[in-house]
Amino acid sequence: MTTTESTDVTAAQGIGTSPVRPDGTMKVRGEFAYSSDLWHEDMLWGATLRSPHPYAHITGIDISAALALPGVYAVLTHTDVPGVNRYGLEHPDQPVLAEDVVRYQGEPVAIVAADHPETARRAVAKIDVGYEVLEPVTDSEAAVAGEGPELHPGGNVVRHVPIRFGEQDVTADVVVTGRYEVGMQDQAFLGPESGLAVPAEDGGVDLFVATQWLHVDQQQIVAALGLPKDKVRLTLGGVGGAFGGREDLSIQVHACLLALHTGKPVKMVYNREESFYGHVHRHPATLYYEHGADRDGRLVYVRARMYLDGGAYASTTGAVSGNAATLGVGPYSVPNVTIDCWGTYSNNPPCGAMRGFGAVQAAFAYESQMDRLARACGLDPVEVRLRNAMSEGTRLPTGQVVDSAAPVDELLTRLRAMPLPADRSGEPDLRHLPGGVSNTTHGEGVVRGVGYAVGIKNICFSEGFDDYSTARVRLEALGGEPAATVQTAACEVGQGLVTILQQIIRTELGVEQVTTLPMDTSIGSAGSSSASRQSYMTGGAVRAAALEVRAALVEHAARILGHDRGDLSVGGGKVVSRTDGVLADLVDVLGDAAFDRTVEWRHRPTESLDPETGQGNAHVQYGFAAHRAVVDVDTELGLLKVVALDCVQDVGKALNPQAVLGQIQGGSAQGLGLAVMEEIQTEGGVIRNPSFTDYLIPTVLDMPPMRIEVLELADPHAPYGLRGVGEPPTISSTPAIVAAIRAATGLALDRVPVRPEHLTGT
């Protein structure tokens, strides 16, 4: 969509400013109701029995002892699922409750409702399930080779994405190869999966839940419950972080089943351990790369094979594989590309969406390769990147020509120009050493390294998906003031969308008072709060609805004031003539009238990829960020400290500059986590570390100070020129940190997270 009307970008608390969050005061007072805080009189508590085995046949389920426990209202198994016992974001392949087989450790087998959470837990323990344990399938490459038992009909490959671009058998003077591994990262949002299902008099159910996409939840719930859509209504409960981990269902169907079965409200809340089993993770990956270049370091070809382990169920493995493949050479111009990416099934934990979504895994590999290429050519790591940097007009390996700013060279040159932190000098303060006060040396084995990386991410949904958002905007006079109301189903997950939607209304309608209605399914879908897309999509929808309201208002004002409507505009709570100045207060013009518009808004259509060649205009927008990391490594202890992590990112237009910085800081931190801390460790499909004492995420001490520069090179195709912000900083952070560790130690380090034993060789 393009807008011909001018926009008053200087509106008070409009776009480009950083007003305080409308939910901020409630959040700091502890009054904001997260989904785990919800309460209903007479409610029951739900609990889930999960498989202890990664792969097993179920030989029998005996619920009698659990049902006999006083205080237990229901014990349900797959036979109690009234609709289709299958759900999934791309393929409905996952049972709501397991039938004759379990495919991962933690797979739900039965659910319980009881009058107290402890009673529910005890009832779960009394369910007797017979298992015939099978050898788990855990090897992605074997799956692609067609080896091992089929976990799903059709085999263990969820999707194969080939990319064939340019010449396939070209040779080059300089060739560097590598095999890289990315561990399984967890979103580790602090607010656990939770929700409250309330049975309704019409035989339906109202579900209050923390999620990223209300309508896709609803669609899967109604299929499982066998109810029409209008009988299952969802309202967003307060969301304690998401990062992709709430895109798949967790408690949704289970809580509704229990509520409908018992006729009572049912609350479900996972504890931390259960949360590690209760949501999908980032795909662990093995990636083989070969880069060919001329002696000046200019890329001739890139060849890659990527294996992404999707675990037991498909979730979004198909789309993640599509991203990894199409973004597989990174933000570089490469004339000849051969990529094969496979997303596979296994008996490992299911994997799906996490911030960066396929681009993260590829970036660790291609940026490691660019550093190898730099060494092979005797070039500086930034220089080799500059020589190959893509730009606007570059034809990507999918054949798509990039048609808006792609300032990869500018990101790198600005990053390189930033001052470096001072060298360590004198007697070290223990707190400054790797390991902090736990360090047992005096820093004599500490070496410093600097590393760079740059990444690319597609923004919004790709590959021909009908990506849209719905928004309703209403303008009326309330209490003597013009007041706007905005309604969408877009999930506020912490990113600050509620602030931005209000800013857009203020900018377009010139009113200060903007009320945001609760996010629920009484309005059309907004799509997911993922793929860095909500400012673009729901921002775009709200803007479009506001412009329709404004057009109707101007027409109304022209009629009332007897003025030429082409001469009128609104702003600052006034109706203004371009020739005669302020004509009237908006509130007087409004009178008893109300202008109410609902708009369904789409981005430019994308195309699916050719299944043989991977060619197609698959993505609507690209985001870019670059990081420079400075790392101190204690080579004797295997400890390290990220001393600085600087970032330059192009955001097209910073609708809310403070929120943009928050996204860059947060995304960079999660990239740091993947680089040096975070991995769900599995052994034969069994998770070894499902707790915050064994799965570590960055604390305030782990995060170094960040210098951040934000570029605003408008994308003419996007609302306000904006570019999605949330994911790009997660992508380049990881490889920059590992590059810095390599620079400090000279080690190859082809796997993340880097662990102490990788540094000490023990």
């Binding site: 005890r122 960055p698 305030v700 995060m703």
Partner: protein, 178 residues
């Protein structure tokens, strides 16, 4: 629907190990009594018995800091303390920080500095931050970071958390509140 429990849930049934104990303590300045299983944590007592859901459960094993509250003025993790240990003691939660409807300066500062995104860790961050000032450990950025490192923020709003605390420390805090 309401987020405030009017009726405490029934205690677990048929538990041979169950023993009830009555705990009388002061919560946010008000005397409260909770009759509960001896094994009920302070966190569950606050959230499920007293309806004070501002204190968050992030891990229930002392690793994340989301449940930080003050007991007799010291910061503690409510998930690692039994309710019964609080008999006769004074507990302050995030709901008790404001005075006469006015938010604590630390609460204001977190809003002003955008010291959170999803906000789930925020009550714990703020309770830690208020205690930090009282402990005299907010002198430098390094001190703040060291002594706030028990409070995880997955959104990683850490720079703004530090800025908010510095801001309040510079202003000398509001001693009426401390």
């Amino acid at each position: 629907m309401t987020s405030t429990p009017d009726v405490p849930p029934a205690p677990p049934q048929s538990d041979p190990g169950a023993a009830e104990i009555t705990t009388a303590f002061t919560v946010n300045g008000t005397p409260r009594t909770v009759g509960a299983d001896t094994r009920v944590t302070l966190l569950d007592a606050l959230r499920d018995r007293l309806g004070l859901t501002g204190t968050k459960k992030g891990c229930d094993q002392g690793a994340c800091g989301a449940c930080t509250v003050h007991v007799d003025g010291r910061r503690v993790l409510a998930c690692l303390m039994l309710a019964a240990q609080c008999d006769g003691r004074e507990v302050t939660t995030i709901e008790g920080l404001s005075r006469e409807g006015r938010p604590h300066p630390m609460q204001d500062a977190f809003v002003r500095h955008d010291g959170f995104q999803c906000g789930y860790c925020t009550p714990g961050q703020i309770m830690s931050a208020v205690a930090l000032l009282r402990e005299g450990r907010a002198g430098t950025d390094e001190d703040i970071r060291e002594f706030m490192s028990g409070n995880l923020c997955r959104c990683a709003a850490y720079p703004n958390v530090v800025a908010a605390i510095k801001d309040v420390a510079r202003e000398g805090g509001d001693h009426a509140h401390l």
